[in-house]
């Protein structure tokens, strides 16, 4: 495996002086291509901060991030936006689909910012939606879909630009266990296809499917260990919602 994302001595401090809060202590993390990493920790452990930095939504206070060996932590907003657009796919707990757009339009949106023409956008978005099993729901708006379907649409949106890394923040947090399970199955499938995935969760069950577990505590890495991962044997249902 090759190192895809390297975090070297990354730290994040909010505020200054008396109000200073250390969200993340100097941390080294390397994520390799094709890994499925679960970042786990209780609320306030710094996992959200870490995810924001991993996703180039936020810049670290110190340290450098290397994307395929290129340091990029000091880049400006617009080029970070470009990295988010092309290299990172986000999946959020609350789906974060735009309610006014149809599912297809939502999935096409990242491609718009990437500069694809309308026909290509539609084709790629349709492919992504087929991939998550939503090919027959493309003209619906998010309000017309179930939570599981919305999350699938959000995953399609995250996948549509063929990102090198899929970042999921509590992807099953707003779903019932059955639906959550099918979403995790989808993630596992994607991992099997070679997709690099980072799952941020506080749920140990979710973390168990990952092949590597990073546990955070008080802004520092407490545990970083490989694990077997994979779907629990008792989950036999096919990935449907």
């Amino acid at each position: 495996m090759t190192a895809f994302l390297q975090l070297e001595k990354i730290s994040k401090v909010y505020g200054k002086g008396m109000t200073e809060v250390i969200a993340l202590q100097p941390t080294d993390i390397t994520i390799d291509k094709g890994q499925m990493v679960a970042i786990i920790g209780p609320s306030g452990s710094g996992k959200s901060t870490l995810m924001h930095i991993l996703g180039f939504l936020d810049t670290p206070t110190t340290g450098t991030i290397k994307l395929e060996g290129q340091p990029i932590s000091r880049r400006l907003g617009n080029s970070l936006a470009r990295i988010r657009n092309r290299e990172i796919g986000f999946v959020f707990q609350s789906f974060n689909l735009l309610p006014k757009l149809t599912i297809l339009q939502n999935v096409m949106l990242p491609l718009l910012y990437a500069g694809y023409r309308s026909r290509a956008r539609k084709k790629m978005a349709m492919e992504a939606l087929e991939r998550v099993g939503l090919g027959n729901r493309v003209t619906h708006r998010p309000s017309e879909l179930s939570g599981g379907q919305c999350q699938r649409a959000a995953i399609a949106r995250a996948l549509v630009t063929n990102p090198r890394i899929l970042l999921a923040d509590e992807p099953t947090g707003n779903l019932d266990s059955q639906t959550g399970r099918s979403i995790l199955e989808l993630f596992w499938d994607l991992h099997q296809q070679g997709q690099t995935i980072v799952l941020v969760t506080h749920d140990d069950l979710v973390a168990q499917i990952a092949t590597r577990r990073i546990a955070l505590k008080d802004g520092a890495v407490a545990v970083d260990t490989p694990q077997t991962g994979g779907l629990p044997a008792e989950w036999t249902n096919p990935a449907t919602t």
């Binding site: 924001h52 996703g55 939504l57 936020d58 907003g77 617009n78 936006a81 470009r82 988010r84 657009n85 092309r86 986000f90 959020f92 974060n96 689909l97 735009l98 006014k100 949106l109 990242p110 718009l112 910012y113 990437a114 500069g115 694809y116 023409r117 309308s118 949106r157 630009t161």
Partner: protein, 447 residues
């Protein structure tokens, strides 16, 4: 980039459509402002065109007019030293200045009851003129003959009637076919005069246009059964009765002259020049000659038609400035309204902006999104304003009975729309900058 622009355009339309009523309210200021800009421009354009047409109709620009005027304060006690504007001035100017085509002195003696037969005598303006008056002021003969030099020389008791004066004194020919007024005698203040000619109706270009289109008849009555009549702004010319100026002076001067007042034989002196390029030279020479003949008393005013045109244009310009000020204020108010609504719209869409940023929208893309939206609001408002302008122009034209038909030019439409779009851009700038600088994490957390 082109794709993005088009998508932003569609996005903007979608956003405006999603808040139809709010968008319409927001647009109102722009609609009104654009409508007033276009209307003001149309009214100005109309007034200018009417002025130009009217001036040609009344004898062109190659004219200089001499009016009686009050002397300046320091000369008022010696104003009696001046003989005033007299026929002598006519001869002095005619004999001393080169390049004069015609002299057109006028002696107005006010309006008088004109008696003919037993009917109720109408009041008509009576004015003494010399033969050149008719060609110089573009008055055409309909029946009989015009005044001639012999009339002037013999102080003949003859009159030429304006068309309305004829209608008033003898009745409308349409009602009394076969009536021939030439050769009839009328009484003006108990003095008998023989009608030798009747003039063609003098018509303002608008009036003539409407008559030629068949919208009104000769008297301005609407042919479609609408009540009322269209005003002919040259009707004052038709209401006149023209006498030889010498006859007018000899018969009426003694009768109407206030004993205390200086004998002013002329009310007005029109001078037609051969070449408009000489207007300035001739008017200056006239001033000099009149200054001498009036013994240094400045009790006259020399005006060229150009001065007149300039004065009118200045008035029009002033009106325009006032109009634009009002339109400008509504544009500014409309713009502030749009800034306000865009700010509100951004607060509602903080999360959306966060999502867009997280999936790769650059600050510039967000900036463009907001700017396109505010510009679109103004563009749509501007287009509605253009449509509204036509209604507003109709309304103003009906309310004011403006003599000039407003003229909507392509230029004014472009200016109106241009203003709207610039207001949209200016109003959207601040909200767009604000939105583009939103931190994606904060925006994503926003509920």
């Amino acid at each position: 980039m082109l794709t993005l622009t088009w998508e932003l355009f569609l996005d903007g339309l979608r956003e405006i459509w999603a808040h139809k009523f709010r968008s319409l309210l927001t647009m109102t200021g722009i609609i009104l402002a654009v409508a007033s800009v276009v209307s003001v421009m149309a009214l100005i354009e109309g007034s200018k065109a009417a002025m130009r047409e009217g001036m040609v109709e009344l004898g062109g620009v190659e004219r200089i007019g001499v009016h009686n005027d009050d002397p300046p304060e320091e000369q008022s006690s010696i104003r009696d030293r001046s003989p005033g504007l007299t026929m002598a001035d006519v001869h002095i100017i005619e004999n001393n200045i080169e390049g004069i085509a015609a002299m057109d002195p006028e002696l107005h003696i006010g309006s008088h009851r004109i008696h003919y037969g037993g009917q109720r005598p109408p009041r008509q303006q009576v004015i003494g003129v010399s033969p050149p008056h008719f060609p110089v002021t573009n008055l055409l003969l309909a029946e009989g003959r015009l005044l001639n030099n012999l009339d002037l020389h013999l102080e003949s008791r003859v009159v030429v009637l304006g068309s309305a004066a004829r209608d008033n004194v003898f009745g409308i020919p349409e009602d009394e076919p076969g009536l021939n007024v030439v050769g009839e005698w009328i009484l003006i203040r108990n003095q008998p005069f023989k009608v030798v000619g009747v003039l063609e109706q003098s018509e303002h270009p608008n009036f003539r246009q409407a008559r030629e289109k068949g919208e009104i008849d000769r008297l301005g009555r609407y042919t479609d059964g609408r009540r009322g009549t269209m005003r002919n702004h040259f009707q004052w010319r038709n209401n006149r009765i023209y006498l030889p100026i010498t006859t007018t002076a000899s018969i009426f001067r003694s009768e109407f002259q206030d004993a205390d007042e200086v004998d002013r034989s002329l009310t007005f002196l029109g001078v037609q020049v051969e070449d408009p390029a000489d207007l300035e030279r001739i008017s200056e020479q006239m001033e000099t000659l009149l200054f001498i003949s009036h013994r240094g008393i400045r009790d006259f005013r020399v005006d060229t038609r150009l001065d007149w045109a300039e004065r009118i244009e200045r008035n029009i310009r002033n009106l325009a400035i006032q109009g634009f000020m009002i339109a400008g204020i509504s544009l500014v108010v409309g713009g502030i309204g749009i800034t306000n609504i865009m700010m509100a719209s951004i607060s509602e869409r903080i999360r959306e902006i966060g999502i867009r940023k997280s999936i790769g929208a650059t600050g510039r893309a967000i900036f463009s999104m907001i700017l396109v939206e505010s510009t679109l609001i103004c563009l749509i408002g501007g287009l509605l304003g253009l449509a509204g302008a036509f209604g507003l122009i109709d309304l103003i034209a009906n309310l004011t009975e403006e003599e000039a038909d407003p003229i909507v030019t392509t230029w004014s439409l472009m200016v109106g729309l241009g203003f709207a779009v610039s207001v949209g851009i200016m109003a959207g700038l601040y909200p767009a900058v604000k939105a583009s600088r939103l931190d994606p994490i904060t925006a994503l957390r926003y509920e």
